[in-house]
Symmetry: C2
Subunit: 345 residues, 2 copies
């Protein structure tokens, strides 16, 4: 608490393809003072998520890019350390988008309090936060799985995929996950209790997926893109639904592969099988947060839903953590611990 400098990670340059550590720069500035109606918070946990790759580019997207030399954007769990804001007091644990830095001043916009009695406070970045809500809304509202249907989800050990599959199991579906490493597949099968989990590294994914989905696929929760999508498409049943929340396999693409253009067969499949493919951004579904928090809080407390975190220590590790997430090397929800967690131990 005697720190005087705010440590930050800035966007030094825009990546071409995979980001490297050269795209980031560490900086220090004096810790700011909160003005009237503001508070100062110190970061405890910083969330690392695939969408951050998009913010590093200046291509048109659903959100403004991070400016060059600007602080990287990111969700945070923080402790209020000084406050001139009537609704926040020193000692409060809060969730917000306070960025890749050790301290931040906020006027409270987009900041919510975290109840440390529901679950460990880091879960406000994962299962109880944006990834959990993304899984919940995309699967239930757009995917609309029915009992007995088959649901496929990739990145199945990740923050979103692990929740999609577990919620689909609760709804009575057959659930097939796709992950990379063998230990992730084992976790998905044995701990999360999916019906099957395949590796996207297999040379034989299309045939293995067909065998794991003997009744075809009714819902494919699309959060990776690339060759998993290619293996899924021929197996989609009539009336199938494909919620699209992310395309991490494509985020680092710099040019399109020269291949047969597959839009015609994709569109034909959409037509013949009456598929619905629908993109969504979680910020459009804030009205579902209360229902989500109540239900997910219950599932967590009674142990119905399990989650896994992959955490690294120290803000300076954040760039490497994002590079890992984009390459699929994390195992569980990636969180950077930036400061002490006062609720621990």
């Amino acid at each position: 608490m005697t720190e005087t400098m705010n440590r930050q990670v800035l966007l030094a340059s825009r990546p071409v393809g995979e980001p490297t550590s050269d795209n980031f720069r560490l900086a220090e500035t004096p810790i700011p003072e909160p003005g009237p109606g503001e508070f100062l918070a110190r970061t405890i946990y910083l969330s690392i998520d695939p969408y951050m790759r998009g913010r590093m580019s200046d291509a048109k997207s659903y959100a403004e890019p991070v400016a060059l030399d600007g602080v990287m954007t990111g969700g945070t769990v923080s402790e209020v350390v000084a406050s001139n804001h009537p609704e926040f007091a020193a000692g409060d644990i809060v969730f917000g988008y306070l960025g890749w830095q050790s301290h931040a001043v906020s006027d409270g916009t987009g900041v919510t309090k975290v109840d440390p009695t529901v679950a460990p406070i880091s879960t406000a970045l994962g299962v109880m936060g944006m990834p959990g809500l993304t899984a919940y809304v995309g699967l239930l509202d757009i995917g609309q799985p029915k009992e007995g249907e088959t649901v496929v989800v990739a990145a199945a050990s990740g923050a979103v995929g692990s929740m999609v599959g577990q919620i689909a199991k609760l709804k009575g579906c057959r659930v097939v996950g796709i992950a990379g490493a063998a230990e992730k597949c084992a976790f998905v099968r044995d701990e999360l209790c999916f019906d099957a989990c395949l590796s996207h590294r297999s040379d034989n994914l299309p045939a293995e997926l067909a065998a794991a989905c003997p009744d075809g696929i009714d819902v494919y929760y699309e959060n990776v893109g690339g060759k998993v999508f290619d293996a899924v498409l021929p197996l989609m049943n009539v009336g199938g639904r494909i919620p699209v929340c992310g395309l991490v396999a494509n985020y680092n693409l710099t040019e399109l592969p020269i291949d047969p253009d597959r839009i015609p067969p994709l569109m034909r499949s959409i037509l013949v099988n009456r598929l619905k493919i629908q993109g969504f951004i979680i910020f459009d579904h804030a009205h579902r947060r209360a229902a989500f928090e109540a239900e997910m809080g219950r599932w967590l407390k009674d142990g119905t839903v399990k989650y896994r975190e992959d955490s690294v220590q120290g803000l300076e590790k954040a760039p490497e953590a994002l590079i890992s997430v984009l390459a699929g090397r994390n195992f569980g929800k990636m969180v950077v611990q930036v400061g002490d967690d006062p609720t621990e131990g």
Copy 2:
């Protein structure tokens, strides 16, 4: 009425690419006798529709292909000439899928009576029939246009596109059509009163479409595929909807163009703009028929909605008519007059 032979058009061979007249064969068989619970009908009008291309192939689709040497399937308006069926009497005008032939025996399955007082009976194949319902359901139920939004539809002078645009105008939308020949574009603008109509033959379609849609595109009713889709996609607004009812530009494709694979940018656009792309087949929406018939009947009677037919005389012209439709050479709903229309003049 003294005919003794049933004239038929059979599928002689499956086309590779564009169908040719060699894929069809004329045949004659004795006019069949209706058995108990059956009736004999003579064909007055035969509908020619793009979906028929799909039935000529044996690729997996939403309906069984026509068998080799089988009678081509098709919607018909017919007159009952002899009946052992309690619900159909000689002289009744009926709609059914009685195929490319001058006579057919039916047990009444899928056959409905046509009321000749609502509109000319040939409209049971067009504006009051399957194409009209396809326009109505796809636009209203899947596209869900709101007042002030921009709706784009291709094949705008055709049976489906002309209805999509007119219904969208009734809902208060800005409507931009895309057609081929200049006379079709003029008809769409001047007779159907679309706000604009562009030619897909223009070298400059993307820029012209952008200029015609200054507020972007909210609903693209996809019934052609190909380069119109390519021009539309970059203009889709956040939350845009793309009902997919046909892909006539692709139906004759024999191989995929070797081009950059555009699935990654398509999926990115779906994600970033939260698009919904949904295929549909009109046979899944039969429950909407009553509402459609009531509303469309009213619009036709009071002149709110206009339609255009392109008719040819004689069953033997049906193959050529289908080849024309697939090439976009028809102008309005294509109908083959196979026999005398007793309700005319």
